[in-house]
């Protein structure tokens, strides 16, 4: 086992523990999480698998394939988060607006 493998698997392990402690709400979430962790660990320990997948897809190295897909995933995550922030902003606006109008009604 090389140094990088130890480093990455410990990282994944820490994230996994953190998630299980914080977000253990539904079976589905845990299932997806377990799947992702398993995939991550497998790819870390046997990087040749990503290499062969990458070659099939026309990408030179496995590491590059991982890089490209993670860009896509992060893009998606950012959009999702942004949509959620907007929703939150709208909710706050509604609450503040209602409060402002109610207060003004009370004064008259």
């Amino acid at each position: 086992m090389t140094g990088i493998k130890i480093l990455l698997t410990t990282g994944v392990a820490f994230i996994a523990v953190y998630f299980f402690l914080r977000l253990r709400n539904s079976i589905f979430d845990i299932f997806i999480l377990l799947l992702l962790i398993a995939a991550a660990v497998v790819f870390i320990l046997f990087p040749d698998i990503t290499n062969s997948i990458a070659n099939k897809l026309g990408v030179g190295r496995g590491a590059d394939l991982v890089f490209y897909t993670s860009i896509l995933i992060f893009w998606f995550v950012i959009l999702k988060l942004y949509a959620r922030i907007r929703r939150l902003e709208q909710i706050i606006t509604q609450v503040v607006r209602k409060d402002a109008i109610d207060e003004a009604e009370k004064m008259n």
């Binding site: 942004y82 709208q90 606006t93 503040v96 607006r97 402002a100 109008i101 003004a104």
Partner: protein, 232 residues
């Protein structure tokens, strides 16, 4: 000319954020017209209530936190509609508009020629003292608005507008910050409202220039618009 009874159902909505030094003068200039005034304080650090305590026909609404000018205008519109407004006017708090221009914006509405009138500083000569940078920004803004809404107005971003109840009921500003000028155009387009541009002055004082938006905030508006299109 408008008669007294009529001005009872005219509501002037002033979005306010920390313009404490000029707000009294702005409101005093509106008073002779007997409009109902709604001041929407967008969570200013220092409440203007002390300065305005003796001005009586005034509705004061306060956002507990700062949301942005678009949100303030929408709050004002909601409140005015609740109060039975027939005609609604939006008016900037920094003193860049003339109170006397409101009548000429209301005229097409009251003659039932339009549902919403938008002030423009570029229809006649000598109605503005915008700097060169701002003029260029507004010119680009026209095209941006055209690109997003299909409406090509002479003034891209003017805080002075008047609308009838029908139009106000259709307006639902979701952009809390400054992209609301374009959102008005989107609402016009979507609801097939009759609109008209009316010539009105925009006179920046040193105060409003300092307080107002810089040319760079137009970039922010542009991105708000792009995201608005993406997420609505």
């Amino acid at each position: 000319m408008l008669n007294q009874n009529n001005s009872d159902s005219i509501f002037v909505i002033i979005p306010f954020y920390n313009e404490n030094t000029v707000i009294r003068e702005v409101i005093e200039r509106l008073l002779p017209y007997n409009y109902k005034i709604i001041l929407v304080d967008d969570g200013s650090t220092k409440s203007p209530v002390d300065i305005l305590s003796d001005i009586n026909p005034l509705h004061y609404l306060r956002h507990k936190v700062n949301l942005g000018q678009g949100a303030s205008i929408q709050t004002g519109i909601d409140f005015a509609l609740q109060k039975g407004a027939k005609w609604l006017v939006t008016f900037d708090a920094d003193g860049q508009h003339l109170a006397s221009d409101i009548e000429s914006l209301l005229l097409p509405l009251q003659n039932n020629e339009a549902d919403i009138c938008i002030a423009s500083r570029f229809l006649e000569k000598g109605k503005h003292n915008a700097t060169k940078g701002r003029k260029i920004t507004l010119k680009v803004g026209r095209w941006v608005n055209y690109f997003f809404t299909g409406l090509f107005l002479s003034d891209a971003h003017n805080g002075l507008r008047a609308m009838n109840r029908l139009a106000a009921e259709k307006i639902n500003l979701k952009e809390n910050r400054m992209a609301h000028a374009t959102e008005f155009l989107l609402a016009i387009k979507k609801n097939k409202l009759r609109y008209k541009e009316v010539s009105a002055s925009v006179l920046y004082s040193d105060y409003s220039r300092e307080k107002g938006q810089s040319v760079f905030s137009s970039i922010r508006i542009f991105f708000d618009l792009v995201l608005h299109k993406l997420f609505e």
